[in-house]
């Protein structure tokens, strides 16, 4: 028996919105410690890793570890039926081929439930090694979303360069170039508004705008975003989900092909 109750169903909705454009389907691995999801997009360029701690739920019970393969478009349909103040309860029997979502309105006067068929997904799990990153940039998530959106008008890829002074996002396209520089904040009064750079050595990497734009769908989840970079290692874009866990995106860099 699996049962997880989240008073704030809107959070789950936001998570779903943050991954459904990148993934068609995904497996939710439920265990005693919580819910995990790891999946690559179809092109295998990016990876989504979601981790929700069991403590973060208002009620959590998982007698046996189970994997629930779901079509995310269908799951979105289910959550579209929920109100913003609703409480959601996710339920599944051991070895079940369906999962039930129950939505309760705040005053309990309306209860709706939706049962969805599960899928048997044969997904590859990736082992992600611990990495010592050269640069870790913490910045307001809305700012990051804005920069990526602005620059992707001009080119297909964005170069993120990080030095001690700050971080530079630049792009180049048929009509010209664009650059956005962010300096490290000196004043730490408001942590969620500041840009904090933890740098071991300068790094400059190129990434496809298309994916970065999809990652920024997670912006409503968190005020801050963390970008971790290292030469020859995928970029990690991390959003903390308050009290519940985190959502990480990994993106393989674009690398200049050797002309010779």
């Amino acid at each position: 028996m699996f049962e997880a109750r989240l008073v704030n169903s809107a959070t789950f909705k936001k998570i779903l919105d943050a991954i459904k454009d990148l993934l068609d389907q995904a497996s939710f691995d439920c265990s005693e410690s919580g819910i995990q999801l790891q999946a690559m997009d179809n092109s295998h360029v990016s990876l989504v890793s979601l981790n929700l701690k069991s403590d973060g739920f208002d009620k959590y019970r998982c007698d046996r570890s189970l994997t629930m393969g779901m079509n995310l478009a269908s799951l979105s349909k289910v959550f579209r039926c929920s109100g913003s103040d609703d409480t959601v309860t996710i339920k599944a029997q051991d070895d079940a081929d369906t999962v039930t979502f129950m939505f309760e309105s705040k005053k309990q006067e309306k209860i709706s439930d939706y049962e969805m068929k599960l899928m048997n997904l044969d997904q590859e799990h990736l082992g992600i090694p611990e990495t010592e990153f050269s640069c870790i940039i913490k910045m307001p998530s809305a700012e990051f979303a804005r920069i990526v959106r602005d620059l992707s008008q001009f080119g297909e890829s964005i170069v993120i360069s990080c030095t001690k002074e700050g971080v530079k996002f630049s792009t180049q396209g048929d009509i010209g170039t664009g650059n956005v520089k962010l300096a490290q904040t000196n004043n730490f009064d408001k942590e969620e508004e500041s840009v904090i750079i933890d740098m071991q050595e300068p790094v400059s990497l190129t990434f496809a705008c298309q994916y970065l734009n999809l990652f920024t769908k997670a912006t409503p989840l968190s005020n801050q975003v963390t970008l971790s970079m290292c030469d020859n290692v995928p970029l990690v874009v991390e959003y903390q989900i308050p009290d519940l866990g985190h959502l990480c995106y990994y993106l393989a860099p674009k690398i200049e092909e050797d002309e010779n």
């Binding site: 990736l126 082992g127 180049q172 496809a208 020859n232 290692v233 393989a252 674009k254």
Partner: protein, 211 residues
């Protein structure tokens, strides 16, 4: 007037040429192609998805159930041996713990078994093919007396040299008896298990049960 117009046209053509050539220059750096790499180049795919012990056990159970339902009797051969009559020999190697054959027959209650036992005792030529076992604190019996062509019922007894053991398994709601390899069995070996019957009455009729 007309000269001016041609002049103008001439210029406009020229300027359009100019822009096109500039565009070419701007496109030039694009020859350095940047290709997107895949994540699988950085992170290795975990070939073995770890499973919990429970899951492994459940899968084994399911595998056994499949073998029973499909009445698998692979790698077995019935041969006639001097003194013991028919016996079953392995025609392939069996790994320790693996499924060998089901002891299949009629699944009957103790009451029914007593009635049949009485019936069979009338005829001296009837062998003993009744297998009693306990399941959920109740005694049941698999009666394989009927010539069914199944291998399980033909396996001989050995108290000291057995290489099989029995296990009760619930399949589709009914308890079934399976014989599993107690050790690694080589092809050609005779398959033997301990019938477990130690009662005085049985020993009197079948002294071979002692060994």
């Amino acid at each position: 007037m007309s000269v001016e117009i041609t002049n103008f046209l001439y210029y406009s053509i020229k300027s359009s040429r100019k822009t096109s050539s500039r565009q070419l220059i701007m496109k030039a750096p694009k020859n350095v192609r940047k290709t997107n790499h895949q994540l699988t180049e950085y992170f290795s795919v975990r070939k073995s998805v770890r499973r919990t012990k429970k899951q492994v056990l459940r899968e084994q159970q399911r595998h056994l159930e499949d073998l029973i339902i499909n009445e698998v009797e692979d790698g077995l051969e019935c041969r006639y041996t001097e003194g013991k009559g028919r016996g079953v020999f392995a025609t392939k190697d069996f790994e320790k713990g693996s499924f060998v054959v089901e002891y299949s027959g009629d699944f009957i209650s103790l009451l029914e078994a007593n009635v049949r036992e009485e019936e069979y005792s009338q005829n001296e030529s009837t062998g003993c093919y009744m297998y009693y076992f306990r399941y959920n604190d109740q005694t049941f019996c698999i009666d394989a007396t009927r010539e069914s062509g199944k291998m399980g019922r033909l396996i001989n007894h050995s108290r000291t040299n057995s290489n099989l053991y029995t296990k009760t398994l619930l399949v589709e709601g009914l308890p079934r008896l399976v014989l599993l390899a107690k050790e690694n069995i080589k092809r050609g070996q005779e398959l033997l298990y301990d019938y477990g019957d130690r009662s005085r009455e049985s020993l009197k009729h079948h002294p071979w049960l002692k060994y």
